[in-house]
């Protein structure tokens, strides 16, 4: 069961964060809020999202699963203006999500969740931790985009560096420790990632936010940030490229 309403901006933010990786997703609803875990269709990245009921204007939920076509929901939310309230209600008999925006009532059929996986959070230890502004991350990505399809993330005790190497060009964007909000490292680590994934993930972080970034050596990267005014939490994991 779900009966809730939330500001359109917050729902749009959630949809953006999820649609970066998957087209369809299973949302787990309970009394405390909504959560989601999913692996992208190429099996290269994962998302974990938790959304406390504080993210909603009002919220009533009992344990259930909602299979949602994210692209469809994205389209529906375009009907809403920035400050609008959006009401969500699960019709269990018809397996529909009823979405009310102003005078619009949109009934959206839900997707069967039977085929959708329930990933656990993989057991990964990432030795290097840092915090930085989303803008810094996106700036480094922008610098790499004209150079290569990959981006290397390198960190040691003194700095964090994003770099790309193309056939003829290369670029480095180096952030010394002072420019970061936090940096904890023991020794140097480096991993290479597909730039399009990393860039899409970083773009889903709203500007002004802080990002926590965990890194290892030829190991996945973890991006963590808050959404919905601190009432929601997102974790992205991205697998590294194999360097031959």
């Amino acid at each position: 069961m779900l009966k809730a309403s939330a500001k359109a901006d917050i729902l749009k933010q959630i949809v953006d964060v999820v649609s970066t990786l998957v087209d369809e997703a299973k949302f787990n609803v309970d009394a405390d809020g909504i959560s989601l875990k999913a692996v992208d269709p190429a099996h290269v990245a994962m998302i974990e999202l938790t959304l406390g009921k504080g993210a909603f204007e009002n919220y009533e939920g009992e344990e259930t699963e909602l299979g949602i076509d994210i692209e469809k929901l994205k389209e529906i939310l375009k009907l809403a203006h920035a400050g609008d309230s959006v009401r969500l209600e699960h019709n269990e008999d018809k397996n529909q999500l009823i979405i009310k925006i102003g005078a619009v009532t949109r009934r959206m059929s839900l997707v069967d969740t039977a085929g959708m996986s329930d990933p656990k959070v993989p057991n990964i230890e990432l030795p290097t931790t840092m915090k930085l502004k989303a803008e810094e991350l996106n700036y480094g990505i922008k610098a790499s985009e004209s150079v290569s399809d990959h981006i290397a993330l390198v960190a040691d005790e003194t700095s964090f560096e994003m770099s790309s190497e193309g056939d003829s060009d290369s670029v480095d964007y180096k952030l010394p420790k002072e420019k970061l909000l936090q940096l904890e490292a023991k020794g140097k680590v480096r991993s290479l990632f597909p730039l399009d994934y990393f860039s899409n993930m970083a773009k889903a972080i709203s500007s002004g936010s802080e990002v926590k970034l965990n890194l290892g050596n030829n190991y996945p990267v973890k991006l963590e940030f808050e959404i919905a005014g601190g009432n929601g939490h997102v974790r992205y994991l991205l697998a590294p490229r194999v360097e031959s």
Binding site: V39, H43, V44, M46, S117, V121, P240, V242, S244
Partner: protein, 438 residues
């Protein structure tokens, strides 16, 4: 769970549980083990070729489990445009991955990610433009194992030389009757369905070596808990088409004209097409010059019946043509089994290639003519040579124009007069339509 199709419910998990095709299974296992060493083997891909319902997909998934690999499978029910393939298949081919249950699979630890493309021979039909180019790119760049599954190997390999080069081909045969019978009885026992011996034989006959078809048939009549041959009366013989290659091989191996005729009936090929196949393959299947001559005698009779039947719309003559073809094949082979692979008729290849080229070129000319406000003929006679020259001398110009004219991969290749999967074509195409450029 009980409403699952039985063919799914009883799909074997382990490779050794899959019935039949022992040699194919061994070859698949050997290929998979070539991935156990570090790095990428010379043949990163394997093509599993064979008729439907014999366990190709089951084996592909089973080998992934046996090797403890993560896997993704894309089949014809997924959208498989070039764009979708690029999005879903390519990324994991060069990265480590996460399995659906949330485990991290790292190549450094030998944990690989298998990419399975089911019905790969259907990828490049009309709406899948560019799909084949992506598959060939996948095989060139992949660091992960790839399995392509096809019914018709030729449909796939005629489109791309490079796919064939980077793949090992493993053939699967139709299943033996005994094997299918065993499976039907096992499922019958588990489901508590009594099934008479005759009924099993009828279902197997209808399925023609396709285990999935036999199981589906059985499930569809099993509602009342027992199956006898009487229950099957209403079921028509499955319209199972024998692969033309397999059929022609059978015709040359046959010694019984009656059996040959029933083989011909199962082929979805009109006599005009079939005769080209027999013509192409008769020399390599004949026992001696004498039998070959006699065989071609029959074939020329068949040819006359076909022509007469067609000209006068008197198609009953075609059945005589079938008789003569069946006979011709038997006479020519004279009991000799060449073991040579049945070849595709050269004349059809030439026609097909020509038709494909003509239709792509027509599309290209139309697009340019609209853009340049002139006739397609004028484009062909006057503009095309210059345009090709301009494309050759500047890739930047080429990609900008490709985007502006919204050319397909094939049309771009035709304009440049280069193969569809050549590096230049894919580079220009990619840069024309990569979102970052726009």
């Amino acid at each position: 769970m009980s409403d699952l199709p039985w063919a799914e419910k009883y799909r074997p998990i382990k490779l050794d549980e899959v019935i039949g095709n022992d040699r194919a299974k061994a070859a698949l296992r050997q290929w998979a083990r070539s991935w156990s060493k570090k790095g990428t083997p010379a043949q990163p891909g394997v093509i599993l070729a064979g008729p439907p319902g014999v366990g190709k997909t089951t084996c592909a998934i089973a080998i992934a489990k046996e090797m403890s690999w993560d896997y993704i499978e894309m089949n014809a029910s997924d959208r498989r445009t070039g764009k979708e393939l690029r999005r879903i298949v390519l990324p994991g081919a060069s990265t480590n991955t996460f399995s659906l249950d949330g485990n991290y699979f790292s190549l450094e630890e030998g944990k690989r990610h298998l990419i399975i493309l089911d019905e790969a021979d259907n990828i490049d039909s009309r709406d899948d433009i560019g799909g084949i180019a992506v598959v060939s790119e996948l095989l060139k760049t992949t660091k992960q194992p790839v399995i392509l599954i096809v019914n018709d190997l030729y449909e796939l390999t005629r489109r791309s030389e490079s796919i064939k080069k980077s793949c090992k081909v493993i053939r699967f045969d139709a299943l033996m009757k005994d094997d299918i019978a065993r499976v039907l009885h096992e499922i019958g026992d588990s489901e508590g369905v009594k099934i008479s011996f005759d009924a099993v034989m009828i279902m197997i006959e209808m399925a023609g070596g396709d285990a999935r078809a036999a199981i589906n048939d059985m499930q569809s009549v099993a509602l009342k808990g027992s199956i006898t041959s009487a229950d099957l009366k209403g079921m028509s013989k499955r319209n199972k088409t024998v692969d033309i290659r397999e059929g022609v091989t059978r015709l040359f191996h046959s010694v019984d004209p009656k059996k040959s005729l029933s083989t011909i009936r199962l082929l979805e090929e009109d006599p005009g097409g079939l005769i080209l196949w027999i013509d192409e393959n008769m020399p390599s299947n004949s026992a001696s010059i004498e039998t070959l001559t006699a065989g071609f005698e029959s074939l020329s009779q068949a040819s006359r019946f076909i022509a007469l039947g067609g000209r006068h719309s008197y198609y009953r003559l075609w059945s005589y043509a079938n008789d003569m073809m069946a006979l011709g094949a038997i006479i020519a082979s004279g009991g000799y089994e060449s073991g040579e692979q049945t070849k595709f008729p050269l004349i059809l290849t030439k026609f097909r290639r020509r038709n494909a080229v003509v239709s792509v070129r027509r599309g290209l000319l139309e697009k340019i003519s609209k853009y340049a406000h002139t006739s397609p003929r004028n484009v062909y006679n006057v503009m095309l040579p210059f345009l090709r020259n301009a494309f050759d001398s500047s890739e930047k110009f080429a990609s900008a124009m490709t985007a502006r004219l919204n050319l397909t991969n094939e049309e771009l290749a035709a304009l440049l007069d280069m193969p569809e999967d050549s590096a230049v074509v894919s580079r220009i195409y990619k840069s024309a339509f990569s979102p970052r450029q726009s």
